[in-house]
């Protein structure tokens, strides 16, 4: 991490707040990272605004409705051998996504070690966990639509805005996971083929940033949609 004071010990390189001034006023480039990484961060920043707008819209309709909101703990509960466990599927999905984040972090590490077999294998594992997540989401959606009769405009459990918020937020997140599975698979295939031997393995870290972001969004959806 950056040190205090104007210069790092023993060098003429600026440190701390001074680095912001020097980086932003430098002649050639502001961010001393590969351009793909800077662009991925800026894309993720814009995605943050989209997801926050969705979640804020959801919060607004939930706060403003005069009709009771369906209890997510019961709506998303599962019956296991006659015992109803609240939020069971959502809990499994959360752990699945956390696991995939861990394998992705390891893939980035092995990429920089130029161990491209392991890096590709870990990326395929990450993509597989992502595909499992989407599969569980498809199960969750069909259960809600077919068995519970939830529609974007109405549902039998309470406030009609529930369906609209649910399908929009989890649908957009599921779309991100699906896109991530495709993205990771393509990059993993190219890693395995050795396409990045000359260029270097920053691409694995960039793909990893996207994947961790998808996991990050789920953290907020889990807290605000399912646990509220």
């Amino acid at each position: 991490m950056a040190q205090d004071g104007a210069t790092a010990a023993g060098t003429n390189e600026p440190a701390g707040w001074q680095t912001i001034v020097t980086d932003w006023s430098s002649d050639k480039q502001t961010f001393r990272v590969p351009w793909g990484k800077a662009m991925m961060w800026i894309f993720l920043l814009s995605d943050t605004f989209i997801f926050t707008c969705f979640l804020t819209g959801y919060m607004h309709v939930r706060v403003s409705t005069a009709v009771p909101w369906p209890n997510p703990s019961e709506v998303f509960g599962l019956n296991v051998f006659g015992v109803s466990v609240p939020l069971l599927l959502i809990g499994i999905m959360t752990f699945d996504l956390i696991t995939s984040s861990g394998t992705m972090a390891l893939a980035v590490n092995y990429g920089y070690r130029r161990d491209r077999g392991r890096a590709a294998a870990l990326m395929f594992m990450t993509a597989a966990f992502g595909a499992i997540f989407v599969g569980m989401q498809a199960f969750e959606w069909s259960k809600l639509i077919i068995e519970e009769g939830v529609r974007p405009w109405a549902n039998p459990m309470g406030a009609s805005q529930f369906g609209a918020s649910f399908f929009m937020i989890t649908g957009f997140h599921g779309l991100h996971v699906s896109a991530g599975v495709v993205y990771l698979s393509i990059v993993a295939m190219k890693v395995l083929r050795g396409d990045y031997e000359k260029k270097g393995y920053e691409i694995v870290e960039i793909a990893g940033l996207y994947w961790h972001f998808v996991d990050l969004v789920w953290v907020f959806i889990f807290a605000f949609f399912y646990l509220w």
Partner: protein, 120 residues
């Protein structure tokens, strides 16, 4: 420290953070068995912030980036807190008007009936 050649760190830190994320996920799932209230909300938000923080700082390597990038990315979302705050206030006001207007007979309906009667 930040470097131009990419992020390379010992594997150990990833395993520690991985375990912590599992722990916090389990803990936040467990809050669902508590009674609704401020205590439960506090725990939900605490585990959410911890998980988000560790993912950004360690898995996304933000901790090791230069300040120029950190502030450029983490600064702008702060304005979203203003939007959230405004929508809380506005949402509660809307609920208040719905409670007071929609539960009682609508005064506007009488108005419309009179208006239509005058035109017939």
């Amino acid at each position: 420290m930040a470097s131009d050649t990419g992020q390379q760190h010992p594997l150990k830190i990833y395993f520690i953070i991985w375990a912590l994320l599992f722990l916090f996920s389990g803990a936040s799932y467990a809050t669902d068995f508590l009674d609704h209230g401020l205590f439960r909300w506090g725990l939900i938000l605490l585990f959410m912030v911890l998980k988000a923080g560790f993912i950004i700082a360690i898995f996304m390597h933000m901790r090791w980036e230069r300040l120029a990038l950190i502030y450029a990315i983490l600064g702008p979302p702060v304005v979203l807190l203003v939007l959230i705050g405004l929508m809380v206030v506005e949402g509660e006001y809307t609920e208040g008007t719905r409670m007071s207007r929609f539960s009682a007979p609508l005064p506007i309906a009488g108005h419309v009936a009179e208006h239509e009667a005058a035109h017939e």
